[in-house]
Assembly symmetry: C2
Homo-oligomer: 420 residues x 2
């Protein structure tokens, strides 16, 4: 029976019963974390072969360069080739960096802020206003970069095909709208992949700003949860049809392929964008950790090696997503109070609860020992105007703990809905 | 006989003879590089034990944290402790970062440019002028960062005790003078170490700017070339006596301890400065490569382990410095046309040739196959106003090649002096 069909008395009685269940949860002294998209220990164990000294020690050179020494700011040629194959782009457009694609993205915005995108456009800091399109729900660390630089954030609703292109197109007619962060495949947190139509529409988009840049955060490019995952149309090939390849900067990393703390990151950009980036890069560093790049290249051998490796991750993650989705369906499926996504890849499930209830759900979970991503985090400035969206990160906890946490979460949703 | 005491005829005859010697060098088809402070292959071999998987694999945790996973933006506690001991500071003031201290320095200037140093001072980009003190000769990559942000560079002559404090003090009375980059120990390129008096004077300095910051690039903190190297007075202890600890930001790295491409870098700062830096850092990255930090900590074990390791570097470098210094003394010692430093550590020898001759020396060397650091590089914007200073980097070439290169360099100095 849906909650909306219940009488006030029924709802009151149910709430009392659920509060009893909740007290039982509290008594268990849980301490579980579903807050961040962190790989679990078993996933980290998959890559321990990466640490084998013989991968590097048998030959420390790459293309004649001693990878132990200074130099090579573009990244090792073999690493560029490997990621070019994974992303379906040309190796000449690929740079391989250090362990953090977030840092690449920060540096891009920082560069555009102080030096502009290149060409005749002024640095963003010297323009009267700078606004960014923000698909919502979205990734809190993207929003944090924009907030740090004082860039105004304009929400664009996510649909099942990606950002709502009608809203996006209207907003992009404002010349102070300078760009967008997005996660086009297995989006954070909805898990949806931009449809071919959406990718083509973004490629074709003619924004009013001449210095418009989309940070195409392809963090989950090879991160299927279901066998036969989704395909994302390659953005640069589409953008080239309109002469718009300068609009896009793609990043990814091996943070969720090998080690989050010790992977390598990747930037893909047009020749013109790369020239501007390399000018800054030559001032900023003598080069990134090439030994770690060499490790990754030798460990995987090829794109096929990466796909085989990701299949092992998938085997660990699918039961975790199943556990959460089963709990949601079992506990909330018939109540008409919540909706959630059923991603085929990525690291998150997006849960929408009744308006005004997300914060309360977070509190109830926290007070019973389960940490969720702070409610509001999926919106700019951490403020979800409808207080509705919750990001569920099922990857880190062991499956039994995850089942417990999911049960508690569902209970909290029911209580919050009835309290409301 | 000094050149100044020669008759014009004598000088002409000598030049003809030297040009013959030079032609012989050219005929040898040399291809030698004395341009950058790069460790040689034998130095890199010293650290191959760092790659041993068992260093990490036996226990991937540090203070309860799985170093493979996300987190730990401050760096591993053990790594902070190790570098605190090496630098004579408190571990709570130490952060351990990725492979590039240059990147730390770039990010500091970028932060001050866009967000200011914290407190009430405006971001440097919003102030009417921003100037930096530049000890000369100095490090080209410091100058490049300042140039990138459009910061005006004011040369301050280096003495044998460090920057000329009289000149520096006068310039610092200008409130638009916001700071200084310096290499206080075994300076690049002079190799001198700031005297205790200089360190104390810098600590005591009361600049007009309230947002004054010195980047204390302690790149060569443990890099002796001679047994019983020089001691640098610890800057924060001195600065604290005047309440000036916020004026200083110290960086170093293991680039020339382990691997230039794959070391770890370190930032030391006051609590107040760290708070501002961590605010930015939390937006910029989820953490640096902690596995590489763990490798370094386990490999060295302690500060004593680092000192023992550096003694092996010293054994490789001392003969190279000797070879260059012997060639300079043998060929130029009696001629009264050149002066050079005799560093007890670091990576460089600074050579002053007759005014107007440095570029010509570089050309002569290049045309005979020996690459020097571009003349002018040791001055802001690459312009040495007296065209006099040459940075010699003796570490990379094998010793026989180095001897050849040094002979050619001396010959080029003589020719340039006589042509002049």
């Amino acid at each position: 029976m849906q909650y909306k069909d219940m009488s006030a008395d029924m709802r009151g009685a149910l709430l009392t019963q659920l509060q009893g269940d909740y007290a039982n949860f509290q008594a268990r002294g849980l301490k579980l974390d579903m807050s961040r998209g962190k790989p679990c220990r078993e996933q980290l164990e998959l890559s321990m072969g990466l640490l084998d000294a013989s991968l590097i020690a048998r030959d420390v050179t790459s293309g004649g360069l001693d990878t132990r020494n200074y130099g090579g700011p573009d990244g090792l040629p073999e690493a560029r080739t490997l990621f070019a194959e994974l992303l379906g782009v040309d190796a000449k457009n690929v740079l391989v960096f250090g362990n953090s694609s977030l840092n690449i993205m920060y540096d891009l915005i920082a560069q555009y802020w102080t030096h502009g995108v290149g060409g005749s456009a002024k640095p963003w800091s010297q323009q009267r206003a700078v606004k960014f399109l923000c698909p919502v729900p979205g990734y809190d660390r993207h929003f944090a970069i924009l907030e740090h630089f004082g860039i105004q954030m304009l929400p664009v609703p996510m649909t099942e095909e990606g950002p709502d292109m009608r809203v996006l197109g209207e907003l992009a007619a404002d010349p102070t709208v300078k760009g967008m962060f997005c996660v086009p495949k297995y989006a954070n947190p909805t898990g949806i992949t931009f449809s071919d139509d959406t990718v083509r529409a973004l490629a074709a988009l003619s924004p009013a700003a001449t210095d418009f840049r989309v940070i195409w955060d392809n963090a989950y490019c090879v991160h299927d949860v279901r066998a036969g995952g989704e395909e994302l149309l390659e953005i640069f090939a589409e953008a080239r049809k309109y002469g718009h390849e300068d609009h896009f900067l793609e990043v990814t990393s091996t943070s969720k392929i090998t080690f989050p703390g010790a992977g390598v990151s990747v930037l893909v950009a047009s020749e013109s964008n790369l020239a501007a980036i390399k000018t800054r890069l030559s001032v900023q560093t003598i080069g990134h950790d090439k030994l770690n790049q060499l490790r990754h290249v030798r460990y995987f051998g090829s794109a096929a090696g990466v796909y085989a490796h990701m299949e092992k991750h998938r085997a660990l993650l699918e039961p975790k997503f199943d556990a959460v989705l089963a709990a949601l369906e079992r506990n909330l499926g018939a109540l008409g109070i919540a909706q959630w996504t059923r991603p085929r890849g990525g690291y998150f499930i997006s849960l929408d609860v009744p308006q005004g209830c997300a914060k309360r759900v977070g509190e109830l979970c926290a007070e019973a020992g389960v940490v969720l991503t702070p409610s509001g985090a999926t919106w700019p400035l951490g403020i979800d105007p409808l207080d509705r969206n919750i990001r569920i990160a099922p990857t880190l906890p062991p499956i039994t703990e995850l089942e417990t946490a999911a049960e508690l979460l569902c209970l909290a949703v029911k209580i919050a809905a009835l309290e409301n």
